[in-house]
Symmetry: C2
Subunit: 306 residues, 2 copies
C-alpha cells in the first residue's frame, strides 16, 4: 500500500492504495495555514499507518512553484506562491521528520495528475500528452516518453502570454505577477471579478464562458505548436464546464486553420481536447502513482519485466 | 562513417563522418525542384560511398511538416509546406530506392540540430532544452530526457500565437495559414515586407530588430511556461543577430517579471538564451547524429556501456 497526498491550493485530498481499484475513500480538508494543514496531514498519515501495516511510501502532489528535484538542497520547498504564508514551507521535510522510515516522492499537483492519467486514465498508451487544470489557478503538466517534464523547475503554463482584445474584454487581468497572462484572464477568480458572481451561479449561456473557452484555446494552440502533445486532458471546475470545452475545441479549430494534419477534422478535436478520466480522484491517484513509481519494489518488478 | 543530409527550405548541406572531429567538408547546393535536388543528393551519396566503403547509415534532417514516425505508412512524406512542389515528396523512399542496403534515419531539421547540440554542443548534460531557428521560417525542436519530442507529429513553434500591438506594428503578418502568428511576424521575409529591404542591408540600430527581439521573447516565455527548458539554443540568420538576441533576453526578463526563480538575475539570461554552438554545421551534424543513433552498432555499444 501507498499513501497519496494531493496538496491543492484550496484543499488537501488523501487516500491509500496502489491504484484506482483498491483506493480507499478520499479524505478531504481545506488548505489553511501550513501549521494547521500539516497537523491534519500528519494525523491522517498516522491513521493509515495504523490501518495498513504495509505502507511502502508516500506520494505528494503539491501546488507550486515547488522544488521537485530530489538532488536540490531545497527539495520540497514551496517558492513564489501568492499564498504568502506557504512560501518556504517544506512538505517533504515535514513528512521526513514525522515518518523517517517511509520514502517520500514529490511532484507538482498537475504532474501528479498526469502520472495518474498515464497509468490509469486518458494518457494510457500515449508518448506525449498534457494535463491542464483550470479552476482557482491554471496549471499544466507535460508528459513525454514515460514521465512528466521538469526542466528548469517545472512548467507554469498558467503564466503563458495570450492575446486579449481590449474591445471585447476590457478586464485587465488579475495575475499579481503578469496582469493579463492566461491565469490572470481565465482562472475562476477572473470570472467573479468580471461578472460580480462566482462561476457556479452564472447561467450556462453567459458570454463569459465563450471568452474563457477562447482564451483556453490559445493555451491549447500554443501547447500543440510548442510540444505537440497527442492529447490534452482537462481538469478543474472551469476547465471541465461543457460550454468551455466545446468553445475551446471550436476556437482551437478556427485558430489552427487546418495546419495540423492530425487535427484537420473538427471531430478529431473531441479526442484531442477531452476531460481527464480519473475525475476528482486524478490528483490523489497521481500522488499514489508517484509513490508507486518511486518504490524500489516497483522498480525491481519493472526490471524483471524488461 | 555516416552520411548526414540537411534538407533545408533554401539549401541542402551534406557531409560524412561520425561527429564534429572527423566531419568532411560541407557540400552545399540550393533546394530547387524535388527532381533536381534529389538527383544532386543521390549523386553526392554515391560519391561518399565510393570514397568511404564503411558507410553504416544515412541521417536526414529535413524541413517539414514531415512524417517522422517510422511505423507510419507515410514515413518520409512532406506535408503542408508552402513549397508546393515538395508536397507529397518522400525523401526516405528516394534514398531507399537508390541505396536499399543502407539504413536511413529521419527527423525534422530542427530536431536534427537539437540532436547535434545534445551530442556535441550547447545541449550537453541537459535534460530538457529547446533549439530555435529564425530565418526564412521559424522552427523549434524540443529535446526532453535524451530525445526530441515528436508527439502528434512534431512541434511547429513558428506557428504559435503571439501578441501584436497594431499601434506599434501595423504589419498584418504574412503566414499563409495564420497571418500574424510568430512566423508571420518575425521571420526574415517579414522584415523585408515591413522595411522594403532585406535584413542584411538594414543598419544594426534599425527599430525592426527590437520588434523582432520582442516577438521572439514571447516565444521564449511561452516555451519556458509550457515546457520549462533549461536552455534555449538559437540558430538562423535573424535569430543569431546580436541585437535580436540582446533584446529578446531583456524583453524575456521584463515579461516574466521575476516569476521564474532560476532566471531572476538578468545575467542568468545569458546562459538561458544563447547561440547554438555548432554554428553552420549544426544541421548536418544533427543529421549525422541521427544516423549514428539509429545504427545497430551504436545501440550495441550503448548497451555494453550500461
Amino acid at each position: 500500500m501507498f499513501i497519496g497526498i494531493e496538496v491543492g491550493g484550496t484543499k488537501v485530498v488523501m487516500a491509500a492504495g496502489t491504484g484506482p481499484n483498491d483506493l480507499t475513500e478520499l479524505v478531504r480538508f481545506p488548505t489553511e495555514t501550513p501549521e494547521a494543514t500539516s497537523a491534519a496531514i500528519v494525523r491522517q498519515v498516522k491513521q493509515y499507518l495504523a490501518l495498513y501495516p504495509t505502507i511502502r511510501g508516500i506520494g505528494v502532489a503539491s501546488f507550486g512553484p515547488i522544488q521537485v528535484d530530489p538532488a536540490h538542497p531545497e527539495f520540497g520547498v514551496i517558492y513564489e506562491t501568492p499564498k504568502l504564508h506557504w512560501r518556504g514551507f517544506n512538505i517533504v521535510q515535514l513528512l521526513k521528520a514525522h515518518f523517517p522510515d517511509i520514502p517520500v516522492a514529490l511532484d507538482t499537483d498537475v504532474n501528479g495528475a498526469a502520472i495518474g492519467e498515464a497509468e490509469w486514465g486518458g494518457g494510457r498508451g500515449l508518448d506525449t500528452f498534457a494535463y491542464v487544470t483550470v479552476g482557482t489557478g491554471i496549471g499544466a503538466g507535460l508528459y513525454v516518453n514515460g514521465k512528466p517534464v521538469h526542466g528548469l523547475l517545472h512548467p507554469e503554463a498558467g503564466h503563458m502570454l495570450i492575446r486579449r482584445e481590449p474591445g471585447r474584454d476590457p478586464f485587465p487581468g488579475m495575475c499579481p505577477f503578469h496582469g493579463d497572462c492566461l491565469e490572470g484572464l481565465a482562472s475562476g477568480p477572473s470570472i467573479e471579478a468580471r461578472t460580480g458572481q462566482r462561476g457556479e451561479h452564472l447561467p450556462d449561456d453567459h458570454d463569459v464562458w465563450l471568452l474563457i473557452g477562447d482564451y483556453l484555446a490559445q493555451l491549447y494552440v500554443n501547447m500543440a505548436m510548442i510540444a505537440a502533445p497527442q492529447r490534452i486532458l482537462i481538469g478543474g471546475g472551469v476547465g471541465l464546464k461543457p460550454e468551455v470545452i466545446a468553445r475551446s475545441r471550436a476556437e482551437f479549430f478556427r485558430l489552427v486553420g487546418g495546419y495540423l494534419r492530425a487535427l484537420k477534422q473538427p471531430e478529431s478535436l473531441q479526442a484531442f481536447i477531452q476531460p481527464a478520466q480519473l475525475g476528482d480522484r486524478a490528483g490523489v491517484l497521481g500522488a499514489v502513482g508517484l509513490a508507486v513509481r518511486a518504490s524500489p519494489l516497483t522498480k525491481a518488478t519493472q526490471l524483471e519485466a524488461q
